[in-house]
Symmetry: C2
Subunit: 431 residues, 2 copies
């Protein structure tokens, strides 16, 4: 029954009951953490053989000694691996270090300050000419690190709501058509962080077409971080955006990123940035100022370990076997304790690393504070929004991957009590 149908007395009784549950849990002095989308130790151990895989084999077929300097674009063997994973040609891939975030940062850095199409094409210069400010579109809720990059460069962020099939394309197209200082959009097109959306074919096609109205200096930041991170046996399809861009002549408007962070070692993987040859060439030129080359040793480790796309997909099956029970358990507890009560809604994602919970308006901060009081750390309210501002104060990102399932069970019991208590308290105040 929806809890709004309860009488005040029923609500007060319920509050008393919840408060006593709360007090009991508090005695347990829990210390649990549901904040970070980190792989568990069990997942990381799937890749332990990375470490000794080279067996004193350091020279590539083309004669390159991976131990030595050089190779801004990474080794071709790793670029091929990235191209298969992200759906581009190998020459359209830069294989980088342990962080695709670093590649995104560099790309924005160069585009904003220097210009990817040569002198005078920087976003900053364009904004100065037009006496305005560079802007980015941000589907929300989204990935906090994307927003941090924009904040770092003083790029203004505009929130875009999600529809079922991805971000609101009508709104996006209208904004891009009217404001030439909108220079990009952040997308996590598959199992979007944290909502779990996979963009529909139509959304991908319309995203690929944006460059034609937005101009040469616009970039779709296509962070395909969860491209192979399925939680079901029949994953939803994501259209190949590079092919769509190629057919529309907008490859220069597209920046695809991805990494092995959640495939092998989260902190010791390799990363990829894919784009048109023109962008890759520009990036190579710029990167010469800031790196001496990629860690080719670690790239070769990954090539030998993951071998090819089929082996990579087989490896991801092992991750799925570890992760699926955790996600199932979170959804089971939410269903059991909250379904039909009208205290919020949540996702049951087909892949990725998060479950997204939307509380009643104005309660996310309160729920997170209550859970903290019981020793369960949740991602701070607002973290999934630009400037950390969730104006509705509803979104809570749950990250079930890292804790063992027993901890997860305890943390979720804390969560559902916190949600109920906050909801009932608010309702009583309103009456």
């Amino acid at each position: 029954m929806e809890f709004t149908q309860l009488t005040l007395q029923e609500l007060l009784d319920l509050q008393k009951d919840l408060q006593s549950q709360f007090d009991v849990i508090k005695q347990a002095n829990l210390k649990l953490d549901l904040t970070r989308g980190k792989p568990s130790a069990e997942q990381l151990s799937l890749s332990n053989s990375l470490d000794s895989i080279l067996d004193a084999y350091f020279v590539l077929q083309d004669g390159t000694d991976v131990r030595n300097y050089g190779g801004i674009l990474g080794i071709m063997e790793a670029r091929i691996l990235g191209s298969k994973m992200l759906g581009t040609r190998p020459d359209e891939v830069l294989a980088g270090g342990n962080s695709s975030l670093a590649l995104m940062y560099q790309l924005i850095n160069f585009a904003h300050l220097h210009g990817l199409q040569g002198p005078g094409t920087s976003w900053q210069a364009e904004a100065q000419q037009q006496q305005g400010q560079v802007k980015f579109l941000c589907p929300v809720p989204g990935y906090d690190r994307h927003f941090t990059i924009c904040e770092f460069f003083g790029i203004e962020m505009i929130n875009i709501a999600f529809n079922d099939d991805g971000p609101d394309m009508d709104k996006i197209e209208a904004l891009v058509a009217t404001d030439p200082l909108i220079k990009g959009i952040w997308c996590v097109p598959k199992y979007s962080n944290p909502t779990g959306h996979t963009y529909s074919d139509d959304t991908v096609r319309r995203m690929a077409a944006l460059g034609n109205s937005a101009g040469a200096n616009f970039r779709v930041m296509w962070d395909n971080a969860y491209v192979v991170h399925h939680l079901t046996d029949n994953p939803p399809r994501l259209l190949n955006i590079m092919e769509e861009c190629r057919s529309k002549g907008t490859e220069d408007n597209l920046i695809i990123t991805g990494s092995t962070s959640k495939i092998t070692f989260a902190g010791g993987g390799i990363s990829f940035l894919c784009s048109s040859r023109a962008n890759i060439d520009a990036l190579e030129t710029h990167l010469t100022a800031s790196v001496i080359g990629q860690d080719k040793v670690n790239q070769l480790r990954h090539v030998l370990f993951l071998k090819d796309q089929q082996h990579l997909l087989d490896h991801m099956q092992k991750h799925k076997q570890i992760l699926r029970p955790k996600f199932d358990h979170v959804v089971k507890v939410l269903d059991a304790e909250l379904a039909g009560k009208g205290m919020g809604s949540w996702t049951d994602p087909k892949g990725g690393y998060f479950i997204s919970f939307d509380s009643l308006p104005g309660l996310a901060k309160k729920i997170i504070a209550l859970a903290a009081e019981l020793g369960v750390k949740l991602t701070p309210a607002g973290a999934t929004f630009p400037y950390r501002q969730d104006v509705e104060d509803t979104n809570i990102r749950l990250a079930p991957t890292f804790p063992p399932i027993d901890d997860l069970d305890q943390a979720m019991k804390v969560f559902v009590v916190s949600v109920q208590l906050a909801s009932v308290q608010q309702r009583i105040q309103q009456l």
Copy 2:
């Protein structure tokens, strides 16, 4: 005999002789490269056991799983290693990825655009207020990658000449005292690239004192890239600049960098940036926008492999045994073929990766072109100067570390013929 004492006829005969040597060598179709300060394969193999050293041991004493996310400042074990190598406290060290150049770039990036002392303290902002341009002092000849970073950010570079004991401190102090927009200086204080200078105690003390006149926003970029890269058993002393800065209250003005690139794997090592806690804290904050953490797996490999400063120094002895004969051979050929002829001067370095050759004025480009004609690639003329402008056109950087000694011998024969031919041709034209 100095060749300037030869008669025109003697010069013409000599030219003919050199030309015929040149033509003979040309038939050999050599393809040799003396451009890059890269370790040889033999040196790299000294560290091959890095690869399998972890043996499924991925968890630090403090419980950190090095495979997972996190750790912008690197693992403490690696920071301790860096602190011993570079002469600071462990908490003053950031341990990074495979490139100390990347750390220098980031430091300049943050100082220039954002300010290391908080909002409003950026170099850029100061320059705008004073309607001038940010400037850096560059001892020349120097390291091209330092200059590239300045060019990238539009920082104006001012050449500073070397004296025997390091850069011309009188000049530096005078400039810093008069121009508040000079925001830093690039130093390679030990075995300077390419001249081989090691800064004297007095130079280090005066460098450490610069902050007191230059102000809070000035940075001494102390790139101690060759700190343990000795070629002799009695290496020259380099004073500990951090201690000097501490005694003068100028730790915030100091940025020390170094790496294991020329200790273990050139492309797969770890890097260090040392400075005051205030700077390290500021850097950590800024880096949060651009990385997900350092590659802690590779840092742990290095900790287990290099162990401590004594083991590191023992390891460097093995490098010395490989490198010393190469440097000796280059100097031997130069001495044998050019000594006393007045066609140039060269260094006999006690450490580092380069031999610096100064031709007669106006001949460096010509010599490099002649060597190229014979199939020997030398570092482009001017590369060791800001804006690639060696106004005297004299400096040539020789990098003897990478080629096998037979190749080195052939390359040096080409070099000395090229030097002589260019010098004689110029003299004949002048007469």
